[in-house]
Symmetry: C2
Subunit: 204 residues, 2 copies
DNA sequence: CTAGTGATAAGACTTAGTCCCATCACTATA
DNA sequence: TATAGTGATGGGACTAAGTCTTATCACTAG
């Protein structure tokens, strides 16, 4: 039942490492097979060779098992904006932030991404969680921009634009047939959005 | 226990009208008193003179009792954009949509708004639901704009701007000390956002 | 007076999530 | 080697959300 070949003890999976990752993989597999609602936390834990108690020690709730990486992204976004030189424009900051999270989009993660997206899209509770993560991300970005002296309204709007560019890019990158690099896709998404701002801001 | 003076039968509240509204009021009162988590659905139903079964026939889940009106807003936004003349700009459409929902912001609702906002802000599960409603609203707005021929990217961005203007305006309108009309606040919010687009779109 | 309809009550049932405590593997120190 | 301590896990009791089914009630049409 374990992932590797190292199993030293009679109680197989209990003390093997990477309990958290095993739970994540087990959950994604079961959600894909049977759907989110038809899968029990106990079943997830069973497949990972663990128990319900352990599941809830690693994840606050059943949904959270699919959103482990999201919090790291916020940190990357925030740091990238904070590290931008004072001369950088808002668009430069957003570009830097989008580039900073490219490390999370390695080819090996690319296999699981479409699967994860399909599961989330199929369940409104999971969509809710994804939206919460995005909103928190927007909040972090807006905060980082305000720290640079950007005014409240512009920071909020720019944060929305950044998140919109990010989620669009992620969606396209995760599409099964996609071959393009994430950074390339993200730049294009931001460029398109910046072009669109003219259609909204211009007084006609 | 009932809201009005009309109580014809021995079983007091069971067949009195407005069960849904009674549940909403009872829930808001209890959430304010004890907090969302510390309030049971059974307690809400009890205070409304009903049962748990009836609560779940009116609301899909415990959170939804606070978000009854949100779905109507989406319809108002959508209709207003669809009804705008072909010559209207995107900004005109957003303005018309923001005006269309003014009917929901009557002075009598103004009393409950701060209370509701405080409850939602105090609980991340409720924030999640609010974000879902906003995202659905953005989706509806973007769809209405695409139906007018607006391209995908611009429609998404404009929808975000519209929702941002709306939620900012609602927040300010619902503040305890506020005296301004909703329409006035909403126009100002949209104007500020449009001005900010220049800071993001402009190539520096 | 009767049959039908829609809203409600009542209660059994499953599962998410919390809490407490025992247990196990491992480590540091005497 | 022995022992105490630490952190992760197992196990089970418990609360409450949410589902489902059946019976009851008020009301209406004929």
């Amino acid at each position: 039942m374990g992932l590797g070949a190292i199993t030293y003890y009679a109680c197989m999976a209990r003390w093997e490492p990477n309990a958290r990752e095993r739970l994540e993989r087990a959950a994604l597999a079961l959600f894909t097979e049977r759907g989110f609602d038809a899968t029990t936390v106990t079943e997830i834990a069973d497949r990972a060779g663990l128990t319900k108690s352990t599941f809830f020690r690693h994840f606050a709730d059943k949904r959270e098992v699919l959103f482990g990486g999201q919090d790291m992204l916020a940190g990357l976004f925030s740091d990238a904006i904070a590290a931008a030189p004072p001369s950088a424009s808002i668009a430069d900051c957003l570009t830097a932030a989008l580039d900073a999270v490219a490390v999370a989009f390695t080819p090996d993660r690319h296999d699981l991404a479409p699967q994860r997206r399909a599961v989330v899209a199929a369940n409104s509770e999971l969509e809710e969680r994804e939206l919460l993560k995005r909103a928190r991300l927007a909040g972090v970005i807006a905060g980082a921009l305000r720290a640079r002296g950007t005014d409240e309204t512009t920071a909020s709007l720019a944060a929305q634009v950044g998140v919109l560019a990010f989620s669009t890019a992620y969606k396209r990158w995760a599409e099964p047939g996609n071959e393009q690099q994430y950074a390339e896709i993200a730049h294009a998404a931001l460029r398109d959005l910046r072009a669109s701002t003219a259609s909204i801001g211009t007084v006609t």
